[in-house]
């Protein structure tokens, strides 16, 4: 790989983005493309400003459900993985069902969950759906991580009379941390996807997140508004990913090979 200064590496994608925006603006103006087909970046920006309060409210709704689902996924995923590590029987009994939950498309489950929970508690339904999607990566990576503890270290702990609890907290959980943090990066993105898909499934009027703003704007052919909501969704996804990548770096950079910057 060509070695570029740090600042240039960050600037290059930003410069490309601006170039594309300028070209986009110019093409829309030059060919007089109608707003309901492809709005210019300036029109999208205007839509974002015009609808700022309602879009922000929707952003907050989507963000809240995403974060809550993600937090629940981390807590329940780690807890179940710990349970699996302590009992092979529990693992053999439950793991297939976790897999079934994972492989069944969320779009297909959404209507059922929404009917069961009820439209009057739509946020709870969205939370459950987003949790289902976000849960599995945490469970599978943490299960693998807990199992990957150095066997010799396990022997050493036992030799010095460590209890199962000490082996779990002082050896297995730290060994699983890099795996868990990696799973969290996948799971954070999936929590957002799960929330958005669930909002689509919930349909008109009841859900008020960003996905619903997109559906609503699409129905009214307000394409600029659609783009504005889409832009916010993408920004949200990127922010979640970066926050989790930062957390991973912060937790691992001192000791784990994956997070150590190579001196070449």
């Amino acid at each position: 790989m060509i070695h570029l200064p740090r600042i240039l590496r960050m600037l290059l994608p930003v410069a490309l983005g601006f170039a594309v925006l300028i070209l986009w603006e110019a093409l829309v103006a030059a060919y007089r493309i109608p707003r309901f087909v492809l709005p210019a970046p300036s029109a999208i920006w205007q839509a974002l400003l015009d609808d700022f309060p309602s879009l922000m409210a929707s952003l907050w709704t989507t963000l809240r459900i995403t974060l809550l689902a993600f937090a629940l996924a981390v807590i329940s995923g780690v807890a179940l993985a710990v349970l699996f590590s302590q009992s092979r029987i529990v693992e053999m009994t439950l793991y297939p069902y976790a897999v079934i939950l994972q492989v069944t498309p969320i779009v297909a489950i959404a209507p059922l969950i929404i009917i069961w929970v009820g439209f009057e508690r739509i946020n709870l339904a969205l939370l459950i759906l987003a949790w289902i999607v976000a849960f599995f990566p945490i469970l599978s990576t943490t299960t693998l991580g807990l199992r990957s503890a150095d066997h010799n270290l396990v022997d050493l702990f036992r030799l010095h009379g460590a209890s199962n609890w000490q082996i779990l907290t002082r050896l297995r959980l730290p060994s699983a941390l890099p795996y868990l943090l990696n799973g969290m990066k996948t799971s954070g993105g999936l929590a957002l996807i799960g929330t958005v898909v669930a909002e689509y499934g919930a349909g008109s009027g009841t859900a008020t997140g960003l996905a619903w703003r997109i559906v609503e704007a699409g129905n009214r052919l307000q394409i600029a508004r659609m783009f504005a909501a889409l832009f916010l969704l993408a920004a949200l996804g990127v922010a979640i990913f970066f926050a989790l990548a930062l957390l991973e770096y912060w937790a691992l950079h001192k000791w784990h090979e994956s997070a150590v910057r190579k001196e070449l």
Partner: protein, 249 residues
Amino acid sequence: MTTIASLRNVERVFTNGVKALGPIDLAVEKGEFLSLLGPSGCGKSTTLRIIAGLLSPSAGTLIWPEGKPRVGFVFQDPTLMPWAIVRDNVRLPLDLAGVPRAEGNARAEAALARVGLTGFSEIFPRALSGGMRMRVSIARAVAAKPQLLLMDEPFAALDEISRDALNEDLLTLWREDELTIVFVTHSVYESTFLSTRIVTMTPRPGRIANEVKLASPPNRTSEWRMSPEFADAARAVSRGLRHATEAAA
């Protein structure tokens, strides 16, 4: 001489029914530096793990005539916790024994000083060389003041220069702490340099072929390594190993 550990008719059978070890009889005498020497698959590591209690014998018994001593174990790999700084790694057996944190830290620092790692206690293992990591591993083993130290080819992965230096330092620890050491190796020269007694083993199944008692000076340094007496001793051990493997083949 008092016996610290005694294996009687010990066998170990793999889960597939193949006999890996034995039957063997072996008495570990208090204060000796005993090496188990032999080719791979001769059951020397299995024997060590049985003594450590990490494996149970399929047949036969392990006896502690003086009661069970405090046991330390050093693996072939340094086997350190990568997320813990050097001092915390060394303190691990003390933590598990319930030693208070402050006392544990002091004992860990003292153990690190003894293996020549003063000033490295705040560093993460990944920043250390292979030889230094092995020193941390040894410091961890001696910090808990073991009466019996079991070592499973601890220096096999090191370069010769680090290995020779560690051999001499290990002998100093053995002398100062009056340790009993059981040391697994496949190196004739290493076992000749370190040991007071060498037991040679042969594979399929692991058996004891012969043993050599060494009348080495208590103070073995690099001088001793270059002496004609050392060469004679190494030749005797080498011959014993050759006979054992030829007889087994």
